[in-house]
Symmetry: C2
């Protein structure tokens, strides 16, 4: 018989801890905060429909938003950078200025998970998204990373680079990239 | 609130058909047929442990083996190239010469699935693995493709190319590549 046969016996025995899925989420380039990008909403929907399905206790979703500080922000960045948000109530006392920095983007996904009943955690980091995501993968060691992808042409990718491509090549866990469908793609595919 | 909020309501409603996962499986370069490569056994184990878990009715595994004909084989290739194998009994009447062409490699995975209770289908195609896998993705439209990966250095990849890299860039479905762990990697990482 083919293979070494350890698969069948060990596969299910090891499946007691929930599978931890890290999702990189970002804001819409068209609508800005607190709206999620088309790609990351798509990646979340896909994860729920194709992986988690109705088995909500078998999975834990980890949402990471990397905030890219603009020139007008003070260097210190978001006040609650080390906070973890796991339920809608965790968002009650956040300050107005922090809403701008992606907290309400996370609230959307935490609310969805809460409604569906799948455990989750969400947090924000400052920096370069592709570098931060790969560092966070190293730190928290998820079972897999899901990232959205705009499906740009090779020519567009050459100038823009893509976070998903970088993660596929550098993240130290299995990575799955979810592309937008044609009907979701804005007129300018660089928009998201 | 962030996003367009269709996620939470639609995610679980759409999850009635099983999630169809295509796995590309190949023979061990060290042991030859019918032994499965380290990479693809790893990819199968990962899929069972991290995705399927105990939810065997929510998933269907599709095993594709691409047989690369060698110079000594007649051009016609494998007799049963259009057969689909879904249970251990389906392998009873195969001819001796066809065993050489990867049928017993498929039998290993079908046996594992049968034992675990997860529905599956398995089949063989002749040709260039990376091209055939991407064509089959187009034809059968799985929800995701899982492929093993030897995690070669950039220098080794430049000369060898890798099936997984090609699939990530060309398959028209989400693709996840599963790397071997350090302790599973043979002395020469090109071996598998």
């Amino acid at each position: 018989m083919g293979g070494e046969g350890k698969s069948a016996s060990s596969s299910l025995a090891l499946a007691s801890d929930p599978t931890r899925i890290l999702l990189g989420v970002n804001e819409s380039s068209l609508k800005g905060y607190p709206n999620a990008s088309i790609s990351c909403r798509n990646a979340f929907d896909w994860t729920m429909q194709k992986i988690v399905r109705s088995n909500t206790n078998d999975f834990k979703l980890l949402f990471l938003h990397v905030h890219v500080p603009d020139d007008n922000e003070d260097g210190a960045g978001f006040d609650g950078m080390d906070l973890i948000f796991a339920s809608p109530e965790d968002f009650q006392d956040i300050q107005e200025r922090d809403k701008k920095r992606g907290l309400h983007l996370l609230k959307h996904f935490v609310d969805c998970c809460h409604q569906i009943g799948v455990p989750c955690e969400a947090w924000i980091k400052n920096g370069d998204p592709k570098e931060v995501i790969c560092n966070e993968v190293k730190r928290i060691q998820p079972d897999m990373l899901v990232v959205g992808n705009r499906d740009l042409s090779p020519f567009q990718r050459m100038f823009l680079g893509t976070v998903s491509e970088f993660c596929v090549n550098h993240a130290v866990c299995p990575v799955i990239t979810i592309k937008r469908t044609a009907d979701e793609t804005p007129e300018d595919p660089i928009d998201d």
